[in-house]
């Protein structure tokens, strides 16, 4: 174990040294022309406007949460579909129970008006 460890330590030292020296050398010899534009946020070529930390309506959060909730359904459905024959009738009953619970959840959020934007 010991010799392996030293090999790894040497390798790590080498890497750190290489990375550090590259950074230092380009810092020493590299030209620097600082302009205001260089320190601006890169926004795919578009002029940035305003701060990124803006308030946005809680409705987006609602939609995102609901999307995640019902999207997870697929994670359970796909393995079940792949193993459908092996799981047989019990598997079918279990999956319908699961979908039933989700359906009741959908009915509930619908009735509570969470799916309406306004």
């Amino acid at each position: 174990m010991g010799s392996n460890f030293w090999a790894i330590a040497f390798y790590a030292f080498l890497l750190a040294g290489l990375g550090g020296s590259i950074l230092y050398i380009s810092y020493l010899f590299g030209p620097r022309r600082n302009q205001k534009r260089k320190f601006e946020v890169y926004e795919c070529g578009v002029e940035p406007f305003g701060t990124a930390r803006e308030r946005f309506p809680v409705r987006f959060y609602m939609v995102a949460i609901l999307f995640v909730l019902f999207d997870i359904e697929t994670v359970f459905l796909v393995p079940w579909a792949v193993l459908y024959r092996r799981l047989g009738l019990p598997g079918l009953i279990e999956m319908f129970a699961f979908i039933g619970v989700l359906g009741i959840g959908l009915f509930y959020v619908w009735k509570r008006g969470a799916l309406e934007w306004d």
């Binding site: 092996r86 279990e94 959840g105 509570r112």
Partner: protein, 489 residues
């Protein structure tokens, strides 16, 4: 390939009934008239709880396992499920008027109470680390939401946020612990982990994480930081449910995991030393910190929160004394948790009874003069406080007696002495509200009873009867606790 047997389907009932009840409540809620009391929802909830309750009696018997060993149907789980479902049923039934006045009389309130109960029962019956995790999550997520259900009150939101952040952190500990234990043994079934010679240091690391996670859930020092704020900010009905139900379910899983998977009979006996060392420290810390901090409180809910930390310490003392054997110490801890769930539900029900329009009746000074104005409520509150203080003839006395005795017999002399001393200390802060209630004149207008309060009165009466009955004739319940612990093997 999974198979369905009758026994398998019946074993789903104790937690399936509340879950089904929750679904029915969510389906019914949109069809009820707005701005009217949502009593039908409470009755659906109560009915599903009673079904679950009946199924416990039906399943009572010798230990069997169902669902490929994932669920254990034994006297241990059923005994604590009995307390959990009773607490859940009383909360659903007794707090309708409180919920209406606090503005939380909605489908979500009842549905979340039911799903939380379902998770607690699952936790008490789980024989598999993954189901333990699932039970913790179903229970905790429901209770986080319940703590913040009075959305317009800032303190309620603060309680929910603190509880959620620390609880989610604790859940991560539990999950990491489970992963390490699985890595060390290749098993998630508790009884198989016990018979597995494993990489002990990895197993010990996993066990430590698991103990830390459970310590958070049951509110043991030094992982109790969320307790006072969460208990104070949550509405009184939810706090009672949290204090009684979450603690009982947490201890159920705690005891079962420690005794079955890492107990004295396990193949790697060194691991029981690991958790005994961790737990006696947590026990001593909880008894000291909980009782000392409770001395200084002026808010009744906050005082009861610190007292619940202290009582976690006493229950942990029983687990430590048991040292993972299926004997007197573990049985004492089981009985203590069983009795504690009733004596801590009671005071919160009284607070819910006295609260009006969502403003919780919670400062200790406000209790002055209650003895003359509301003799029954004051009498019940006194009984619960005396029981928490551990005075006879209540369940608190019997529970403490058995815990201390088994700790003494197990050779944990200093810990027993610490327990007795802190109990004496606690009598001061438990007696102060009683003195105020009977020996001072009222400083403010005390709320009067309304007819709709009858369910709360009824539930307080039942809880008080349970506290007295368990204290006067404890032998049958102690035998049941011992039988429960014995059924773990």
């Amino acid at each position: 390939m999974p198979t369905f047997g009758t026994a398998e389907l019946l074993s789903l009932l104790p937690f399936g009934c509340p879950l089904l009840g929750a679904l029915v409540v969510l389906l019914m809620d949109p069809f009820l008239v707005k701005d009217r009391p949502k009593l039908p929802l409470a009755y659906v909830g109560l009915a599903s709880m009673l079904c679950a309750w009946a199924s416990l009696g039906f399943l009572w018997g010798d230990r069997t396992v169902a669902w490929s060993g994932a669920l254990a149907i034994d006297r241990f789980g059923l005994f604590l499920s009995f307390a959990i479902i009773t607490v859940g049923a009383l909360t659903v039934f007794a707090t309708t008027e409180y919920a209406r006045q606090a503005g939380i009389d909605c489908g979500e309130y009842y549905a979340l109470l039911l799903t939380a109960t379902s998770g607690m029962v699952l936790l008490a019956m789980a024989n598999d680390l993954l189901l333990v995790f699932l039970g913790i999550e179903v229970m905790s997520i429901s209770v986080y939401a319940l703590a913040g259900i009075t959305r317009t009150r800032q303190r309620s939101i603060e309680a929910a946020m603190k509880y959620f952040l620390l609880g989610a952190f604790a859940t991560a500990f539990v999950l990491y612990g489970i992963a390490l234990i699985y890595g060390a043994t290749g098993e998630i079934r508790l009884d198989r982990i016990a018979h597995h010679m494993a990489n002990t240091s990895l197993l010990a690391a996993g066990l430590t994480f698991l103990v830390i996670g459970f310590g958070f859930k049951v509110g043991a020092a030094p992982f109790h930081m969320w307790t006072p704020d969460a208990y104070e900010g949550a509405p009184a009905s939810v706090t009672g449910f949290m204090a009684a139900g979450v603690k009982a379910a947490g201890f159920a899983a705690f005891l079962r995991v420690l005794v079955v998977a890492f107990g004295a009979g396990a193949s790697s006996p060194e691991v029981s030393v690991v958790w005994t060392d961790l737990l006696w420290l947590a026990s001593a810390g909880s008894m000291l910190l909980g009782n000392l901090a409770a001395l200084a409180q002026t808010n009744l809910k906050r005082m009861l929160a610190w007292s619940s930390v202290a009582h976690t310490g006493y229950a942990l003392l029983g687990i430590v004394a048991g040292e993972g054997r299926v004997g007197a110490g573990s049985a004492a801890a089981l009985f203590y948790v069983f009795g504690y769930s009733f004596m801590t539900l009671g005071p919160f029900l009284v607070i819910a009874l006295l609260s009006r329009n969502g403003e919780d009746f919670e400062t200790i000074d406000d209790l002055a003069g209650l003895g003359q104005r509301r003799p029954l409520a004051a009498g019940a509150l006194s009984l619960f406080l005396l029981s928490l203080a551990g005075l006879p003839p209540t369940v608190g006395f019997v529970g403490k007696l058995y815990v201390f005795r088994s700790a003494f017999d197990g050779g944990w002399i200093y810990l027993t002495v610490l327990g007795v001393v802190t109990t004496l200390l606690s009598v001061y802060y438990y007696l102060r509200p009683i003195v105020l209630m009977y020996m001072r004149d009222a400083r403010r207008e005390l709320p009067v009873a309304v007819p709709a309060d009858w369910t709360t009165h009824f539930a307080i009466g039942l809880t008080a009867a349970a506290v007295l009955l368990l204290g006067l004739t404890p032998s049958g319940y102690l035998d049941a606790a011992l039988a429960g612990v014995l059924s773990l093997r």
